[in-house]
């Protein structure tokens, strides 16, 4: 029983890593209607920027705040000067543009900071606490709490604020948003900026555990995408719950279903997606999109 609870707790903390990135993906999708492969790359870049500030002698908190602010600017600029050109075109092209951006960012990071692992300091100590007989580090606990806070803020942003409503309107239909007087261009920039800033938070949250490398979030990105689809593209709560579910289920299946084991456990989230989407095409928490003809 002790092992079982520990596996669940471990799964939750691994799931939190996926959730952090998944939230950024949901945000950019809500704000721009695009799946952004560069999200992970931008988050890693923010981690490196924070690292550079720390190296320059700034306190960690200041470095993180600066990195998050810079990421907002960077995300907005990327939208304005790169993605904007493709937003009205074929969505496949836009997706490939984000792939190109991911490659470029990864390459730039490697040129500046090399491919070597760089240790990143954590805001939270590594000391552990007992919960129901399971051990969990203060760091993962704090990461999880931060993610829950972000999730609630995002949910409120989308559902309760004018800005959130405007962002969603622009993503849904830029043409009619423009007709009703919304500043479409600026809203898209804000959407990307917010997503990049959120990605930056995700980056600095997980960097202490994964250590900074240019491809730090490559695997996590796949899990995050799975969580986003599973939770429903439109729901921050859904994607966090899905990310946790993936983390926990993976662990349990790997340990208690020997046939699957640790090597094939990565099939679990996809099997889950498959079953759930057949039953509920809009995802666990997604809103149903009505298709009119």
């Amino acid at each position: 029983m002790g092992t079982f609870i520990q596996l669940v707790v471990d799964g939750l903390s691994t799931g939190s890593i996926y959730a952090a990135l998944a939230l950024a993906i949901v945000l950019v999708n809500q704000a721009t209607g695009l799946i952004n492969f560069a999200q992970g790359g931008l988050a890693v870049l923010s981690g490196y920027v924070a690292y550079a500030f720390v190296q320059a002698g700034l306190p960690l908190v200041v470095a993180i705040i600066l990195a998050v602010a810079l990421s907002f600017v960077l995300g907005a600029l990327a939208e304005r000067f790169l993605v904007r050109r493709f937003e009205r075109g074929d969505p496949d092209t836009a997706v490939v543009v984000t792939i190109g951006l991911l490659t470029l960012i990864t390459g730039i990071i490697a040129v500046i900071w090399s491919y070597n692992n760089l240790g990143f300091p954590s805001l939270f100590p590594l000391t552990s606490v007992d919960i129901l007989g399971a051990v969990v580090s203060v760091r993962s606990l704090a990461t999880t709490v931060t993610i829950v806070v972000i999730m609630v803020v995002l949910q409120l942003l989308f559902l309760r604020t004018k800005l959130g409503l405007a962002l969603r309107a622009v993503a849904d239909s830029p043409a009619s948003s423009a007709l009703s007087g919304l500043p479409v261009g600026r809203l898209l920039m804000v959407g990307w900026g917010l997503a990049a800033a959120l990605g930056a938070v995700a980056g600095v949250l997980v960097a202490p555990q994964l250590t900074l490398t240019p491809g730090m979030l490559d695997t996590a990105l796949v899990y995050a995408l799975a969580a986003v689809i599973l939770g429903g593209l439109s729901s921050p709560i859904g994607c966090v719950v899905a990310a946790w579910a993936i983390g926990v289920l993976e662990n349990l299946v790997a340990v208690y279903v020997p046939f699957i084991g640790h090597d094939l456990k990565i099939a679990v989230p996809f099997a889950l997606i498959f079953v759930i989407l057949i039953l509920r095409p809009q995802g666990l928490f997604g809103r149903k999109v009505v298709v009119r003809v």
């Binding site: 002790g2 520990q6 596996l7 070597n116 490398t213 662990n251």
Partner: protein, 419 residues
């Protein structure tokens, strides 16, 4: 429809031009006859220079290690070239040029790079990292009689003379490293319960196989838990939780991923599991892994090695290490402290190649292979005393002896006994 005529016209011109170009270019095969004459120099070697090629991952997940494999060789020959070059066995002094190619750990690309090397007149491929990427062009290298030597893979296939006549591995086969630790445990006389975590590929499997072979028949050692992980995993918490519950007092952790090694050192502590710990040679860096992982909390961290660790205070003033770091900085544009042992290994590859160059009597690949297979007792720079380069044993790579070392809080010290 008028639109369509233009591209067709263009196409026609292109086609005609191509046919003319082709018929004008004539046969291009004549010059590259390689089998024949005894004294004709092989491609890639002139009276004043020799060109070596390295295909290795310089992008992607293991680019850090790959960069090191290029940096070490480049640094070694950079220093020699600056001093005038290498005096070959045929009496001529040559400079050594290194061409590197990125394969991103993709077998298809490493084969393409090999084909390009042949076209670029490279004398031999060397020092490349990776089992699948080296296997992908192994047969092509054999059929074209191009040496593919001192490669960075512990796959035994590359050291089998019969199957791989134009190949030779450099680093100890993975089995050797695992076996060295297995012997130590088996010889301790104490009862031990061992938990095993290994990477799910030939790297992890080789380690585990060597370890298990070494403890076979030792009644004092039993394996109580065995798990695997994928090199792409972000976390091994679940495996550690599982293994911690097995009550093992020795943990054999055949892991090659830096952040996972740090995380597992941290996680086991949190779980209150403090076994003696074994880590392979490429994840045992005191500065990059053991320090951040809090390894001092464990009764013993063991590893195997044949290279002096530049990060270790014990070697800070060692002349080999000082020269190595200076060469890296000056000739290989690698100013940092090496993050991976591959930097040291490929520096030794340079020394081994130099030895072969010095004794090869003809500027041919045949002569080079003969010379390379006759290096014995070479104490390459950075090698720990007690290890040496020996290329004369069939089935073994250039370096086959490793020393078991124990972490002493700062660096490593060689040990004979467990505990």
């Amino acid at each position: 429809m008028r639109k369509n005529t233009r591209p067709r016209g263009v196409l026609g011109i292109v086609a005609v031009a191509a046919v003319i170009a082709l018929s004008a270019s004539g046969c291009t095969r004549g010059g590259t006859n390689q089998g024949g004459g005894s004294n004709a120099a092989s491609p890639g070697i002139t009276d004043s220079s020799i060109t070596l090629g390295i295909t290795t991952p310089l992008s992607g997940a293991i680019a850090g290690q790959g960069t090191c494999t290029v940096a070490g060789v480049t640094a070694y020959f950079g220093a020699l070239n600056a001093a005038g070059g290498v005096k070959f066995g045929d009496g001529k002094t040559r400079t050594v040029n290194i061409k590197s190619y990125d394969d991103g750990y993709d077998p298809q690309k490493s084969l393409a790079n090999f084909q390009q090397m042949v076209s670029d007149n490279v004398f031999a491929a060397t020092a490349g990292l990776g089992t699948p990427t080296n296997r992908a062009f192994r047969e092509a290298a054999i059929s074209q009689k191009v040496p593919q030597v001192l490669v960075m893979t512990g796959d035994p296939l590359f050291s089998d003379r019969k199957q791989s006549p134009w190949q030779l591995g450099f680093v100890p086969i993975y089995q050797n490293e695992g076996a060295a630790f297995g012997k130590l445990i088996a010889g301790s006389g104490q009862p031990h319960k061992v938990a095993i975590l290994s990477q799910n590929d030939d790297y992890g499997k080789g380690y585990v196989q060597g370890f298990k072979d070494a403890i076979k028949g030792a009644s004092n050692v039993s394996v109580v838990g065995e798990q695997t992980y994928e090199a792409t995993d972000t976390s091994v918490d679940a495996q550690l939780t599982q293994l911690a519950s097995s009550g093992a007092d020795v943990f054999f952790d055949a892991m090659s991923i830096t952040p996972l090694a740090i995380a597992s050192l941290q996680k086991a502590q949190q779980l209150g599991w403090k076994p003696s710990w074994f880590l392979p040679s490429n994840t045992s860096s005191p500065a990059a892994i053991l320090g951040p992982g809090g390894a001092a909390a464990y009764p013993g961290i063991y590893s195997v090695s044949f290279a002096k660790a530049p990060q270790s205070p014990a070697f800070a003033k060692d002349p080999d290490v000082v020269k190595f770091l200076a060469d890296l900085k000056q000739y290989a544009k690698y100013p940092d402290m090496p993050a991976f042992p591959h930097c040291m290994w490929s520096y030794m590859v340079g020394a081994t190649l130099e030895q072969a160059f010095k004794t090869m009597t003809e500027p041919t690949r045949d002569s080079f292979m003969t010379a390379l297979r006759n290096v014995k007792g070479l104490q390459a720079p950075l090698m720990l005393s007690g290890t040496s380069v020996d290329t004369t044993t069939d089935g073994q790579p250039a370096v086959s002896s490793v020393l078991v070392q124990k972490y002493d809080g700062k660096g490593y010290a060689t040990v004979q006994n467990f505990g």
